[in-house]
């Protein structure tokens, strides 16, 4: 048993993922407001009578009390702030988009305990939008990915040339160069997406939802392809969940509750 003094701390966070540990425990990965990404052990959480209940599932926004351990911290208390899981899981497009949000947040925080308040706020905002069902899940995801890349220092160029800064818009787009490029700078293999698609991405990045939601399916498809390519370029390994995102919902579905009592 360790004799080092344990220091207790409290923070709120969103559970990004859970992994089984031994017979009854779980390791939970949490993106916290002040301490960045934290991996902690939740003891006994898989027993049916656990004091944590379902509070430490992915998509849960929780108020946590933790103490620092040798390699992993330990969760001593968890109170639910808002649990997005059951609403999101009942809506397949929201579930697949939400999983991609969580995986991206996990992958963008390479270092543990490095504060990333802006990313935390983006994650909470995306989960809230997915569970409120006010906007198509695929658009919420793409807006999140564009902004998360910006927070990580990889804001895509959607107007001026990514290389020389010449004022746009430009017809060419290069993933390795980081977005729109002018005729002079364009590397071989640059794509020529529809200008309307680039405008659509701009709307998503700046939060202009009226314009973003007015987009056609073709632009949304091309746009999410570009967003995915940009993200994969920056991450060493591809995201597992991104190819599985279901983008079949195109209109807001606030009224469409899938489950109803018999």
């Amino acid at each position: 048993m360790s004799t080092t003094p344990k220091s207790l701390y409290r923070d709120e966070g969103v559970v990004l993922r859970t992994q089984k540990l031994g017979e009854a425990d779980r390791i939970v990965t949490v993106l916290t407001r002040r301490h960045g990404k934290v991996r902690a052990v939740a003891k006994g959480v898989r027993r049916t009578k656990s004091k944590f209940g379902a509070r430490l599932e992915p998509f849960s926004h929780v108020d946590l009390q933790l103490y620092t351990g040798r390699s992993l911290d330990v969760v001593s208390q968890a109170e639910s702030i808002r649990s997005y899981g059951s609403v999101i899981a009942a809506d397949y497009p929201a579930y697949t988009a939400g999983t991609a949000v969580l995986e991206t947040a996990d992958r963008l925080t390479a270092e543990e305990k490095e504060p990333s308040l802006r990313l935390f706020l983006l994650v909470v905002g995306a989960l809230r939008a997915l569970s409120d069902r006010t906007r198509p899940a695929g658009l919420v995801l793409d807006a999140f990915l564009l902004r998360a890349m910006s927070v990580a220092g990889w804001e895509p160029a959607l107007g001026d040339c990514a290389r020389c800064g010449t004022e746009g818009p430009h017809r060419h787009f290069s993933v390795p160069a980081g977005g729109s490029v002018c005729r002079e700078c364009r590397p071989t293999g640059s794509a020529m997406p529809s200008p309307v698609t680039i405008e659509h991405l701009e709307a998503l990045l700046s939060g202009d939802w009226e314009r973003a939601e007015a987009s056609e399916n073709a632009q949304r498809r091309e746009g999410s392809g570009l967003v995915a390519a940009l993200l994969q370029w920056h991450l060493e390994r591809g995201l597992r969940s991104l190819p599985l995102v279901d983008r079949s919902d195109v209109a807001p579905r606030r009224e469409a509750g899938l489950l109803s009592e018999a």
Partner: protein, 199 residues
């Protein structure tokens, strides 16, 4: 580290689900000290499972032979199918004696974070079974956790156009748990109180 054979055994045991290095070592030394007849029965059981047990061609439950016991039983109703994640869930539901239809074992739940999508499960096979119109009711009994709920939502949407009665086995089951850990009474009640899904 131990000598070759012992370490090999510990390594193999350590690969089993839920067995950590310490448990693997404990089981290995238990087997070393056991009667050779006891070990022989274990070896024979492992070999028999490998040689004789496979998946039912109809529902993908474990079966000895082409079809499982339930699919071969003419007294079981053919108009209702209960969808579960794993063969162990069939066992759990059979214990309740509440269900007299047939099963369909998906082979897991949709989990994008693990890279598992609908195409990695036996979803197409389920759709094929539903096509000929014999089945009129579908009960979705995936686990009461996030993956199970999402899988249920996906299936409900997929079979919606077929016009079946679709329900979700959920009420009263502890959220976040595995179906197999639910006791018979709770599980039986969940069957009676299943929720209708209108896709």
């Amino acid at each position: 580290m131990y000598e070759g054979a012992v370490q090999d055994l510990i390594d193999e045991l350590g690969r089993l689900p839920g067995v950590g290095p310490k448990s693997a070592q404990r089981i290995a030394f238990h087997l070393l000290a056991a009667e050779s007849a006891d070990v022989g029965r274990l070896v024979a059981a492992l070999q028999r499972v490998q040689a004789e047990v496979r998946f039912c061609v109809t529902c993908y439950n474990v079966a000895e032979g082409e079809q499982c016991r339930i699919c071969r039983d003419p007294r079981r109703s053919t108009d209702v199918i209960c969808v579960v994640e794993e063969p162990k869930d069939v066992v759990a539901i059979e214990r309740t004696r509440e269900f007299r239809g047939r099963y369909h074992v998906l082979g897991g739940a949709i989990s994008p974070i693990e890279g598992v999508g609908p195409d990695d499960l036996r979803v197409k096979e389920l759709m094929t079974r539903l096509m000929d119109g014999t089945v009129t009711e579908l009960i979705i009994a995936t686990d009461p956790n996030l993956e199970g709920e999402a899988t249920a939502a996906y299936l409900a949407r997929l079979v919606g156009p077929l016009g079946l009665a679709v329900s979700r086995l959920a009420s009263g089951l502890p959220v976040g748990g595995d179906l197999e850990y639910a006791d018979e009474i709770t599980l039986g009640r969940a069957f009676e109180g299943r929720r209708r899904i209108d896709a």
